[in-house]
């Protein structure tokens, strides 16, 4: 497998962690309660930590004098390969939790397979991340149940969020050309095989939360090819501002 394909494959995983981490970071100091504020920012920290491990590896593979910061902050919108789901905005807390839940379930299934990758580094990153993401999934599932089986208002809001975000879930199981090459060479995960399990887990928790599973037949896609929703530009402007305004700045 060529390094360039491998790098693209890693972006397909790592960019999800970066962009979701960025979305959660936006809640720092703005969470609806102190506990949820701490929780979302701690999850952001885990995701950004995972992102660093992936990007450090990409920097090493690229053979150029690239750093993890260049990769995070200096790419253009089309070069980010995250799914549309993770870039969706923090509309309200129920929305944040639903987005998190719909991604966590997928993320954990992906990592459980990625740990068997014949790429030593990807396997090591996955094994480390599994421990963190299991906790995220517990947290978001717990909140889905509390909000769904909560007051009329909380149920209505979280059901709306589920209905709204559902159209982004199918993209999780699409394979890009780089994904296919990665699977063939034994380093990548065939995400199409995760779909049934994903729906089974999501359905179970939504039902326990007394929420309806949407029956949408139309799904949105594009993120994996770098074609993002209208929210991505604003997110990147926020994310990249410091590094673009003060090139080479360090913390």
């Amino acid at each position: 497998m060529k390094n360039e394909n491998k790098i693209q494959y890693i972006y397909g995983i790592a960019d999800n962690a970066l962009i979701l981490g960025q979305r959660l970071s936006e809640l720092c100091g703005h969470g609806p309660s102190l506990e949820t504020d701490i929780a979302t920012t701690n999850m952001a920290l885990d995701l950004l930590g995972q992102t660093r491990s992936y990007y450090q590896y990409v920097a090493q593979l690229s053979g150029e004098e690239k750093t993890e910061d260049d990769i995070a902050f200096l790419r253009t919108e089309r070069q980010y390969k995250n799914v549309l789901l993770v870039e969706q905005p923090n509309v309200h807390f129920g929305y944040v939790i639903t987005r998190q839940f719909l991604y966590d379930v997928f993320h954990l299934l992906l990592l459980q397979e990625l740990q068997n990758s014949n790429d030593e580094m990807l396997s090591a990153i996955a094994k480390k991340a599994i421990k963190e993401v299991s906790y995220h999934q517990r947290f978001s599932s717990d909140w889905i149940k509390r909000l769904g089986d909560g007051t009329d208002e909380s149920r209505e809001k979280v059901q709306e969020a589920v209905n709204d975000l559902w159209k982004f879930t199918d993209e999780l199981f699409h394979m890009t050309d780089d994904d296919k090459i990665a699977v063939e060479s034994g380093i990548g995960v065939d995400v199409t095989t995760l779909k049934d399990k994903y729906h089974q887990i999501v359905k179970e928790i939504l039902e326990e939360a007394t929420l309806m599973v949407p029956e949408v037949k139309w799904f949105q896609k594009g993120g994996k090819q770098g074609v993002h929703s209208e929210h991505m530009g604003y997110l990147l402007a926020d994310l990249q501002y410091m590094q673009r305004t003060y090139p080479n700045m360090k913390w």
């Binding site: 701490i38 929780a39 920290l45 885990d46 930590g49 491990s53 090591a124 421990k131 906790y135 517990r138």
Partner: protein, 167 residues
Amino acid sequence: MTIKLEQHIDPQLIPVLEKVHDPEIPVLSIMDMGVVRSAQYHDDVVEVKITPTYSGCPAMDVIGDDIVNAFKAINVKAKVSLVLSPAWTTDWITPKGRQALEKYGVAAPLNEEADKAALLGNKRIVKCTNCGSSNTKLVSQFGSTACKALFQCEDCLEPFDYFKCLK
């Protein structure tokens, strides 16, 4: 970054490594935390490999610098690198480390099953670090850092951190 499976620490280096503490839990040395995976002389340079507790743990950069400085103080050059595998677990915290944690006011991690019961099942089993009572309740699944959760004692009302079990 290389991946090393076994912990291999040159015994003569341990006293220096024990002087380096976790910046967020200063009572705990990095040896007690179990984050040092290997420490060896290669010619004149000490090469130390550490592993993060959590992927995003901001303490790791500081710990790396502190190790270099601790060896510098005895005129030895040190190089620190990060290894991810095998992933750190709270089982690597030494008995001495657990004691230090409790004394500092952070409840030490329970076993996996008890940990789940405390964090998800609202079981009152985490002991208050102030009065020892088990009549404690979970306040927040996340605490001041990613590795901790927040509890409060219902007897003496002390709020305290609990170091979550990580397996």
